[in-house]
Amino acid sequence: MLSLFTVFLSIFLVSCGPQVQNKLQAESITVWHWMSDREGAFLELAKRYEAETGVKVNFELYAPSDAYAQKVRAAAQTNTLPDIFGILGEKRDFASFVKSDYIYDLTEEMNKENSAWRNKLFAKALSVNEFEQGNSFDVKPGIYGVPIDVTNIQMLYNKDLLRSAGVETENPPKTWEDLIEINKKLKTKGIQGIVSGWGERWLIDCIASNYAFNIMGKDKVLDTIRGNVSYTDPDWIKVFDLFREMRDEGMLASGIVTMVNKTAEQLFANNRAAFAFNGSWCVNVYKGMNPDLNYGAMLPPRVSDKYPMAIWGGAGSSFMVNKRSKNVQPAVDFLKWITNAPQQIFLSKETQDLPSNKYSLKDIPMVLSQFAGAMDNTTHPNVWGVSEFPVVIEAFDKGIQSIIIGEKTPEQLAGEVQQVKEREMAKKQ
């Protein structure tokens, strides 16, 4: 009798097992992230979420970002991705994750209740996580990620240094000529011009594509990526020539080509350079380095009036839901909650980042509101729908470093980049 009871009990427990397990798992979700500066704020939000819903959120920090990116790839291969994670990389990497069925399509959730969730987020930030119809990555159209903050990359100017050089700081330079004139004044006072972490190639890529958009317009830039326009086109040479001009005018900080952005941030925060090229995250960084720094944000001075100046921006950090997770719905619910106004205001206050919820822009610092004001000018390679070959990007960025150190001319670089481009296109055919 006892043994019969044991058998029945075993069958009962085994049959109940998955449900019990599911219920347990639904009570806790795991988030992997790389944002060490936000760890404290995330933990506080996790506590609040557990208090509100009873669902425990385990934020697991893996830094630095390079190590995090590798961990996510390795976890994908071993099918051990957490419920929520972020993808660091280019759009093609994101596409590969989606095509391999690692990421849950959030379009339906975004469109529920008259697109309530979608409408409260900055469209530009959302588009970074979106694949449109007919995208070149061959990904099913949809929204695959949720921005938790937004960012853009602009120029910063040090008001005190400009004033000491006799520049009216209420009117920072708007055109390239203005910038050159101001730089001449700065040089007479022994003040360095532009500082930025151009040892990190992506920042060079960023400023070069800003000016490419300004000089030749978006369509021509994208046509170049598609292979319909050559990098030897006069407009591209004009873009490369800006770096030659910056070098010849002594506009760039010493050692800029091997400088990491952290060093550049220290130099600007310590009043060692009049201009910086940096992202909106710098507000928090500068606050930590020098709370008295007197500075403002501005669009990079335009070279041409033909096309608007575009800056890189959109989603700062985004989270994706693991499609293979047993906790898809709880994960989605948590992402909806974290992008609600109260949580976004909290995150913004704690981290000085721009919130991804457009109704959370209250009480942000002046400089941050200047960054927010430029969101309409933002663009990003992730929203272009086409992407350049990585080796072409490398040749492009490293080549600009070579112009800055006086090793190559703009024409030489244009020829070399086009050669790499043609080689890659030939391989693809």
Partner: protein
């Protein structure tokens, strides 16, 4: 009798089995996987499917035509050359000095062995600060010494960047050579020196006719370790220059990282790893052959 022999053989294999298993799991299988990947085009994200991703020897063909890769190999070779000469000469001199009965010899040994135990990232960051073109100590000292004409952006200047990195690599690495040389010197019987001194041998003759011949195996060991260690230099480069300016401080490992992380080309990165490993193997093999020849000579 046969049964006993078979049992002994079986027991022997059984004892070796754990080591074989460990070696297979941690060396042979990963090497096999890397080789398999080197024949494929794979981004490291999508599910790996050998049949779908197989591209034959295309990665290797591209690699042989990759000018940046070969210039990175040459640059690593340049650092290795400096390490083999400057670094090892310094290590040998210091080992010779410490081999004598000098006051505070142990303190010197500790001091000389300090750089190798420091974190490479920390060393790289500290030296980047010293070399800094804006506010670096080196430029400050040059100004103070009235040598302002020598002031430059040490790590951003293509003419100086690689040599600056090589010097720091040597500073960081000479302690290993020092310890091995010192251990080698201490194995030479003192009687040989005493007997030669009685015969009127000068210091140079002692060094040339006793120290050098008896130290040849140690020189070979140190040179092999130097080549293998220096060709794989990576952390210092990453923390000091990131491979820049341009491609001027790129070395093979930074190129492998760029292929893998920067371009998501895992297959190509694996082919770079295989070729690099083969080159190091060949260099080590030549060194061993040379050492045998020198010993016989």
């Amino acid at each position: 009798m046969n049964n006993i022999r078979a049992k002994t053989v079986f027991q022997n294999y059984l004892f070796v089995l754990p080591a074989v298993l460990l070696f297979s799991v941690f060396y042979i299988y990963p090497f096999y996987k890397v080789f398999t990947l080197s024949l494929c085009q794979w981004d490291g994200i999508a599910r790996f499917d050998f049949a779908k991703n197989f591209i034959g020897m295309r990665n290797f063909i591209e690699l042989f035509q990759d000018k940046i890769w070969w210039s990175a190999m040459l640059q690593a070779g340049y650092i290795t050359l400096i390490a083999l000469t400057f670094q090892n000469a310094l290590a040998l001199m210091l080992a010779l000095a410490c081999d004598r009965d000098i006051k505070g010899g142990n303190i010197y040994r500790v001091i000389f062995y300090l750089p190798p135990v420091l974190s490479e990232v920390v060393v790289g960051l500290v030296w980047r600060w010293i070399y800094d073109g804006n506010y670096g100590l080196l430029n400050h000292w040059l100004y103070q010494a009235g040598l302002s004409n020598l002031v430059t952006d040490w790590l951003s200047n293509p003419k100086t960047a690689l040599t600056c990195v090589a010097i720091i690599h040597c500073w960081k690495g000479f302690g290993w050579g020092f310890i091995i040389f010192l251990a080698g010197l201490q194995t030479i019987p003192r009687q040989l020196y005493e007997a030669a001194k009685v015969d009127g041998a000068s210091s140079w003759q002692l060094f040339k006719n006793i120290t050098i011949p008896l130290m040849i195996p140690v020189f070979i060991l140190v040179s092999i370790l130097t080549v293998l260690g220096t060709m794989q230099v990576f952390v210092l480069i990453l923390s000091m220059t990131g491979g820049g300016p341009g491609y001027h401080t790129e070395v093979p490992v930074t190129r492998i990282l760029e292929s893998m992380v920067g371009s998501s080309r895992f297959g190509y990165a694996c082919s770079q790893g295989i070729l690099f490993g083969a080159v190091l193997l060949a260099v080590s093999f030549i060194q061993i052959k040379l050492s045998k020849y020198m010993k016989q000579a």
